[in-house]
């Protein structure tokens, strides 16, 4: 009997072994990423997940206001009033999970870089390079939303957002300091630069990072850190690049510069003004008044005021207006860096090149006159104004206010039928946006 049992156990074991191949079924439509094409599809989804929250943050700046409808006010009103303390269920919150979903995928690609099956090594390098850059960019956006500005005194050692450089699901997650986050961003950019090798994608895939996207991000990060030399050098690599040209808005056939088909487009990843946000927002008179008669941008960027005087932006609402890096930003970045380095002539030269493409001849001449006479301090202010005009409704304004002077903002808003005044003081703590409640609820460590 014993033998019989032993035999049957043995035969069962044999059968078990042979059955493994019977059980190996690759389901249709499901996949464990293995080769470079599959990882590309995985990364594509990560790109698709990147939130356009820079637009939401701009509601806290002075360039726009929320429409006076109950629905829009319930959704976005808290942002323009800097009211973070009494959240409503109807408030549209800042994304948190989405940023980290993108980071998860980036980490996955970085971790598996040595096992990805490929035919051309450079495809894997490009993929991993993009993952590094994407991780850097997600951390960069997060730290600028929910961390103190790098340039603010004492900010470096304050806690900001958690850095996620691995995918351990069990590990406790705590916040890192602003300095740690920036340092990691810089390392990631350096790693990305070594790997990225694609200079240009087909237009419909131009959301993907290229070697120039690394320069662009590096320029932006350096600007935010006050690293003027690097900001200048990286910007010039883009300005001097024949692939990118300023849109000439004085011409009839000009494309809106933040359109993905515009010749300024470097990377077209984020839709910062989706249709809901676009519908809910109006152009503030503060911004509208910054444009002079003869500035083509005023009429290209914005609609004519309607009977109630409401002006709407024309730079968003559809995925054509997807833009992350475009050339004009780097003219302004280079100019700002040069000014800070006290190379005023060169800075003015770059600004004039931009203005030539934006203003009528008459206005250009008067502006040129004015510009050439500006001192360093005034030039810095003028560049800030020009950034506000050029990059309006592209999700830069709030970040620019934060990294520069963090000025006092006073708003008079119509609430129901009465006017109310709201004030954001200079260097107000509310220049840093609180981490969303949903994130704190799922990870109470974020309060530490």
């Amino acid at each position: 009997m014993k033998q019989r049992i032993i035999y049957s156990i043995l035969s069962i074991t044999l059968l078990l072994v042979s059955c493994d191949s019977f059980l190996d079924i690759q389901p249709v439509g499901q996949v464990i990423p293995n080769n470079v094409e599959e990882y590309r599809a995985l990364l594509a989804k990560a790109y698709k997940t990147v939130p356009g929250n820079r637009g939401l943050a701009s509601l806290r700046s002075d360039e726009m206001k929320v429409s006076n409808t109950e629905w829009d006010q319930n959704a976005y009103g808290y942002l323009e009033r800097w009211d973070d303390m009494s959240p409503l269920t109807s408030n549209v919150p800042f994304s948190w999970a989405n940023y980290y979903q993108v980071i998860f995928t980036a980490n996955e690609i970085i971790n598996n870089r040595s096992t990805i099956v490929f035919t051309h090594k450079e495809e894997v390098d490009q993929l991993v390079g993009e993952a590094y850059l994407l991780r850097a960019y997600m951390h960069f956006n997060l730290v600028n939303l929910h961390g103190q500005p790098y340039t603010k005194e004492g900010a470096l050692s304050t806690k900001s957002i958690p850095l996620r450089l691995n995918n351990d699901l069990e590990a406790s997650v705590y916040r890192n300091t602003v300095e740690e986050v920036y340092s990691s961003i810089c390392t990631d950019i350096t790693n990305a630069k070594e790997l990225l090798n694609v200079k240009e994608w087909e237009k419909k895939y131009s959301y993907r990072f290229t070697t120039y996207a690394a320069n662009a991000l590096s320029a932006r990060v350096s600007l935010y850190m006050g690293n003027w030399v690097v900001a200048y050098e990286e910007s010039m690599k883009l300005i001097n690049n024949p692939l990118f040209n300023l849109e000439n808005l004085t011409s009839e056939s000009a494309t809106l510069p933040n359109h993905y088909l515009s010749q300024e487009a470097i990377t077209s990843l984020e839709l910062v003004f989706n249709s809901a946000l676009n519908k809910a927002t109006e152009v503030s008179s503060l911004l509208y008044n910054k444009y002079q008669e003869g500035d083509y941008r005023q009429h290209l960027y914005f609609s004519e005021p309607n009977e109630e005087g409401i002006i709407k932006s024309q730079k968003g609402g559809s995925n054509e207006f997807t833009s992350t890096f475009r050339l004009a930003e780097f003219y302004l970045t280079a100019a700002e860096a040069l000014t800070q380095l006290n190379k005023l002539e060169e800075a003015k030269e770059l600004l004039l090149q931009l203005m030539q493409n934006r203003l009528t001849n008459e206005l250009y001449s008067t502006e040129k006159e004015k510009l050439l006479n500006l001192s360093q301090g005034d030039l810095i202010l003028e560049i800030a104004e020009e950034r506000a005009r050029e990059l309006a409704f592209e999700g830069h304004r709030w970040f620019d206010l934060r990294r520069t002077t963090r000025p006092r903002i006073e708003k008079t808003l119509k609430v129901g039928n009465e006017d109310k005044t709201y004030i954001l003081e200079k260097d107000d703590a509310r220049y840093t946006i609180p981490i969303p409640n949903a994130a704190i609820q799922s990870n109470p460590n974020l309060t530490k």
Binding site: S8, I12, L15, L16, C19, D20, F22, L23, I25, Q26, P27, V28, G29, Q30, V31, I32, P33, E38, A41, L42, A44, K45, Y47, K48, E70, Q73, N74, G77, S86, L88, T89, S90, W96, A97, Y100, Q101, V102, F104, E108, P162, R164, N167, L169, V173, K204, Y205, Y207, S268, E320, T322, V415, G416, E418, K420, A438, A439, Q441, S442, N443, N445
Partner: protein, 1099 residues
């Protein structure tokens, strides 16, 4: 020799013995059944062991089996006094041997309402005497279960511990079955169904069936014809189910179909006519026209919910421009014209119940022919069943064909082949977005004064049915019925091939190959003139900037959608059985292997601009990809799974008194991406039986037929197929930039390499007792099932990139008692009375469960898995607002409970600093939606040729959350409601517990809190009702025609019966509802009452 190799039911070893001291004598004979005087094949003829011992004969057993003619021949020692004859389903006959007589004719009497001698588990046939597991059996015949429409209905109230809940009374709707409570928090909770040894696919019932009668998914069980079923065995404890592995965690239901028997061909015919009277909606207590108009007038005067510009009164006053005048000065301010129109409205009335429902007459015909010879037996049947719903145009047809044949090739080989084919057709009309074409729902919501047709017989349109403030689309239920349709055709085929090799009495090898193919095609049409189509056209509108106008991209005409699903499987199993007996030791072992593969395929296509006459469609030109995604034209899915299993059972009995058994099974499956170490989990059971009545000390108590104690322990398990240690994604085509479609991989879930098997430890202990020649049969079972490492969701820090993942963290117990008692109360020559009573108590308790930190409902820890949590109310305050009972037992308003603060920015929104954790403490546990007490009570009386039986099924102690009678913040004047609204709190009616309708401009913070948190109102204790009821499943009177008269006409038996099903329900109040079971779902049809006349003939 040949004789000994035939049908063997008891294993008997026959030795050509040599008796040293005694002379032998050879006895021959024939055994017949007293029932039909047919020879009994394979009946056992043996000498009792004790007699052999008494005679001091060394052989432990001495017996033979009858041949195909019922004949036997046995050589025995001369001084043996008695021979025993036994056969399944018949009483054992003791044949006293008369000296000198060597040839006998014996008649065995069938046992009436007695326990079967064997139990079919799907893998084995186990003799009941050796059965260590908790198993129940139901014989499927009209006498026992009544005129059922589908197999699952047969089980209601029949088996202790098996809870049956009807989800809907609609033709073809599935029935929810739970065996011994809920064992898993996620994953299927439906039992495994096995047809003649092959587990069926497609038997799971969708968890949420809230709707709409049109989308009811039929289970593959619905395709079986009850007339072809012989009996159903329910395997309940681990000892019985372990052999089925992971799929059996919720119990197993084994269906055995009818077989041909040796003898001349026998033809049976049966027919049934069912009359189902129309549904009465009176129980719904809906407002009549007069009450509705007065209510609307009242609400309009008080400016209640002014955004809701709906209702007949509003439309009249708006047309005459009298709204303001009426609101300011009341009824007196109205013009005579307005008053006349209002009066006319009050006098108009549509009895929706009357015109939406009908009497239904259903028919069923079954015919079968069976018979066989030594070499071949066969069973062939045809069945046709057509069921019309109480709703016009709703119909379900079923056509069945069964063919079973079994061949005996030679002494060793036996082959069987069976084919089960069925075709089902379900006809209905389309469901619109708001569920209004569901007449059960519409009859509750339609205003009573709305007339569906005008004087010229044209459709009137109801513009008030859309949910929000929209009134742009008109609805007419009769137009909808006429111009939309949904037809489903299901073709199902299963085929089973059996091979049996019986080498000798000890060794047997069997193999079974099962194929199943279910294919359903659902064709849905909405013509242009229908609400559904108007709604589709509306939603395809977009702003075309080129022409500065709204356009729609769905072309004129109707829509034609086809859903095709196919579901197929192949199962092959092979097993060997070895059994032997030494003296008083019986040993048995079975081992086998099984492989299984299944395929699921779905295909969806849609064509717009459809014309029913020309069968043509028009191209859809989508403005962009995003819009195209909202209106998919073609979708296909495909899934394939493979499984391999090994199993073994063994049992050992000593002196037929002590039996121990064990079983083990290892299941492997293709769980994609699952770590290989989790591919095989051994599931096992051990069990034991002590038949006390066989002990020598029980000899004297011969009034006890049987007394046995059973016990078993087993491990059941399950693994989550959606979690993997690897990153698994699924493909989707998506776009970031215009025209940039590409493949993207979405990550399905967080990779988790720490996931373990979910394990359920089950203990079962039972007593079987029968006395006075089985006059009383009692089975008592106690079980305790503890699930550990149950798989569930846990929230993750969002920084991980995921919201939650699946982990092993929950734990739950089910314990309960089951009683099954069948008694033979009275039996005289002409009269008999049998009773069958079963009762079960199940207590389910969640030991550990983690909930999301922001959950608004408390954790079920310490409560049942179906726990219902409510806000306890304490009446109403001076404004008719709800008062809550807080933790300190004080009466507080919503504002005090939630510490609502006044809105800060001038917007009508309140804020609260109550954390989710604190909020959960506001709710108290009311009870469970799973009734703890279930059972059935069946009585059968016979008098001469008459038989009367009834079957009561009951569910006690459960609760159900109903939909609130009316909405307090957003009461819709355009729809009807039940009379509760008239009893709401008003200044003239303060003595009530029904809250007032809340005005927007008074106590605004509470108003908005109720509006944005509708769950608070829904979770009030006043909407939770007790669910305790007893249903008269059937009441049946049958008459068997006298055989003498029949035989002259060539008919062997004939019977007629009249049966009433669901004639009444008694229990806790179900006021405002049609039926206790449909309280939780306003869309669901109640179980229909019906009267059935049936006729059975056999030739």
């Amino acid at each position: 020799m040949k004789k000994r190799l035939l049908f063997i039911f008891y294993i008997l070893s026959l030795y050509s013995a040599v008796w040293a001291q005694t002379t032998n004598v050879t006895i021959t004979g024939t055994i017949f059944s007293s029932e039909d005087n047919m020879p009994l094949i394979g009946a056992s003829v043996y000498v009792e062991n004790e007699e052999l011992e008494d005679q001091d004969i060394r052989e432990s057993t001495l017996g033979v089996i009858t041949n195909f003619d019922g004949e036997f021949s046995i050589t025995i020692p001369q001084n043996i006094k008695n021979l025993y004859c036994s056969y399944i389903g018949h009483e054992t006959f003791v044949l006293p041997l008369v000296k000198g007589k060597t040839d006998y004719t014996i008649q065995l009497t069938p046992t009436a309402q007695m326990l079967d001698a064997v139990v079919v588990t799907g893998y084995q046939t186990i003799e009941r005497r050796k059965l260590t597991a908790a198993v129940s059996n139901v014989n499927i015949s009209e006498e026992t279960v009544g005129a059922i429409k589908s197999i699952d209905q047969a089980l209601a109230g029949q088996i202790a511990g098996l809870q049956v809940t009807s989800l809907s009374g609609t033709p073809g709707a599935p029935i929810k079955i739970r065996i011994r409570g809920t064992s898993s928090l996620q994953g299927t909770q439906d039992p495994l169904w096995v047809l003649d040894g092959i587990p069926l696919e497609g038997t799971d019932i969708p968890e949420h069936l809230d709707n709409d009668i049109t989308n009811i998914k039929q289970s593959s069980i619905a395709g079986l014809n009850p007339a072809d079923i012989d009996n159903i065995t329910v395997l309940k404890d681990a000892a019985a189910t372990a052999i089925y592995g992971a799929r059996a965690a919720n119990g197993v239901i084994v269906i055995t179909t009818k077989n041909g028997k040796i003898g001349k061909p026998k033809v049976s015919f049966s027919t049934r006519m069912t009359y189902t009277p129309t549904l009465s909606t009176k129980r719904l207590n809906l407002l009549n026209s007069e009450e509705k108009v007065n209510l609307e007038l009242d609400l309009l005067r008080n400016k209640y919910n002014e955004d809701n510009k709906k209702g007949g009164v509003y439309h009249i006053l708006d047309r005459l421009d009298l709204i303001n005048a009426y609101q300011e000065s009341g009824y007196e301010a109205l013009t005579d014209e307005a008053k006349a129109q209002l009066l006319h409205l009050q006098s108009q009335s549509t009895d929706w119940g009357e015109i939406l429902f009908r009497d239904a007459l259903n028919q069923e015909y079954n015919v079968n022919i069976s018979g066989g010879s030594e070499k071949v037996t066969y069973y062939n049947s045809l069945g046709f069943f057509t069921e019309k719903g109480n709703v016009k145009g709703v119909q379900a047809d079923r056509f069945n064909l069964v063919s079973k044949t079994s061949y005996r090739i030679n002494n060793i080989v036996k082959i069987g082949a069976s084919i089960f084919a069925n075709r089902r057709k379900n006809k209905i009309y389309l469901t619109d977005k708001y569920g209004m074409s569901n007449p059960l729902f519409y009859s509750r919501k339609a205003t009573p004064y709305f007339l569906p047709y005008n004087e010229d017989g044209e459709y009137n349109y109801d513009y008030d049915i859309q949910n929000n403030t929209d009134t742009d689309l008109g609805f007419n239920i009769f137009e909808e019925r006429k111009n939309t349709s949904s037809k489903e055709t299901i073709n199902a085929l299963s085929s089973i091939f059996d091979l049996e090799l019986r080498f000798n009495d000890n060794l047997k090898i069997t193999s079974q190959l099962g194929l199943q193919l279910d294919e359903s095609t659902k064709e849905q049409i909405a013509e242009e003139n229908s609400f559904t189509m108007r709604d589709i056209h509306k939603s395809s509108q977009y702003w075309d900037s080129a022409s500065s106008s709204f356009k729609r991209f769905i072309p004129d005409g109707g829509v034609h959608k086809v859903n095709k699903n196919s579901n197929s499987q192949i199962t092959w199993k092979a097993l060997g059985e070895y059994r032997n007996k030494w003296n008083q030791h019986e040993f048995e072992i079975m081992a086998g292997t099984e492989i299984r593969k299944n395929w699921y395929e779905t295909l969806f296509t849609a064509g717009y601009g459809f014309d029913k006459k020309t069968l043509t469609t028009k191209p859809v030109i989508f403005p962009d990809e995003e819009k195209a995604r909202q209106f998919p034209l073609h979708t296909k899915t495909y899934r394939e799974n493979a499984f391999a299993s090994f199993f073994s059972t063994t049992s050992y009995s000593f002196r037929n008194t002590y039996t121990i058994g064990g079983s083990i099974r290892m299941d492997g499956s293709d769980l994609f991406g699952v770590d290989k170490k989790y591919r095989y989990l051994p599931l096992y059971s051990v069990s034991g039986l002590w038949r006390i009545s066989n002990e020598p000390f029980m000899k004297s108590t011969d009034w006890i037929d049987n007394l046995a104690i059973r016990a078993s322990y087993g491990l059941q398990g399950n693994i989550d197929k959606n979690t993997s240690p690897y990153l698994i994604g699924s493909y989707k085509v998506e776009t970031i930039l215009p025209d940039g479609s590409e493949d993207m991989i979405t990550v399905n879930s967080a990779p988790n390499d720490k996931l373990r098997w979910e394990k359920t430890h089950s203990i079962n202990a039972g007593i079987d007792f029968s006395m006075n020649n089985q006059a009383i049969n009692l089975s008592l079972d106690y079980y305790y099932r503890k699930g550990v490492d149950l798989i569930g969701m846990q929230t993750l820090p969002l920084e991980t990139g995921f919201y939650s993942n699946t982990i092993n963290w929950a734990s739950m117990t089910n314990k309960g008692i089951e009683i099954a008692l069948s008694t033979r109360n009275i039996t005289t020559e002409n009269f008999s009375w049998y009773t069958n009573f079963n009762f079960a108590y199940n207590a389910n308790k969640v030991l550990k469960e983690k909930i999301r930190e922001d959950a608004t409902l408390p954790s079920r820890e310490g409560y049942s898995v179906g726990a219902l949590f409510v806000f306890e109310t304490a009446g109403l305050d001076e404004d008719g607002y709800i008062l809550f009972k807080n933790k300190a037992g004080e009466k507080v308003t919503l504002k005090e409970l939630y510490r609502l603060e006044d809105p800060q920015w001038g917007f009508p929104m309140a804020t609260s600093d109550v954390t989710p954790d604190e909020e959960r403490s506001f709710l108290t546990h009311k009870g469970s939606s799973e009734p703890p007490y279930t059972g059935g009570f069946i009585n059968t009386f016979t008098y001469k040729n008459w038989e009367l039986s009834f079957n009561l099924a009951f569910n006690f102690g459960g609760y159900v959350r109903t939909t609130p009678s009316y909405n307090i913040t957003d009461f819709d004047k355009g729809k009807n409601t039940n009379k509760d609204i008239l009893n709401r709190w008003t200044h003239d009616n303060k003595n009530t517990n029904l809250p007032a309708l809340l005005a927007q401009d008074y106590r605004g913070d509470e108003f908005y809190w109720y509006m944005f948190r509708p769950d608070i109102y829904r979770n009030l204790d006043i909407w939770v009702k007790k669910l305790s009821y007893m249903r008269l499943q059937n009441l049946r009177l049958g008459y068997r025609l006298p055989e003498k008269a029949l035989n002259k006409m060539g008919v062997s038996t004939a019977s007629v019966a009249l049966e009433g099903r669901n004639l009444f329900v008694a229990g806790a109040s179900y006021k405002n509802y049609l039926d206790p079971e449909s309280m939780g779902n306003p869309f669901s049809a109640p179980m229909p009452k019906s009267i059935i006349l049936s006729l059975n003939l056999s030739f």
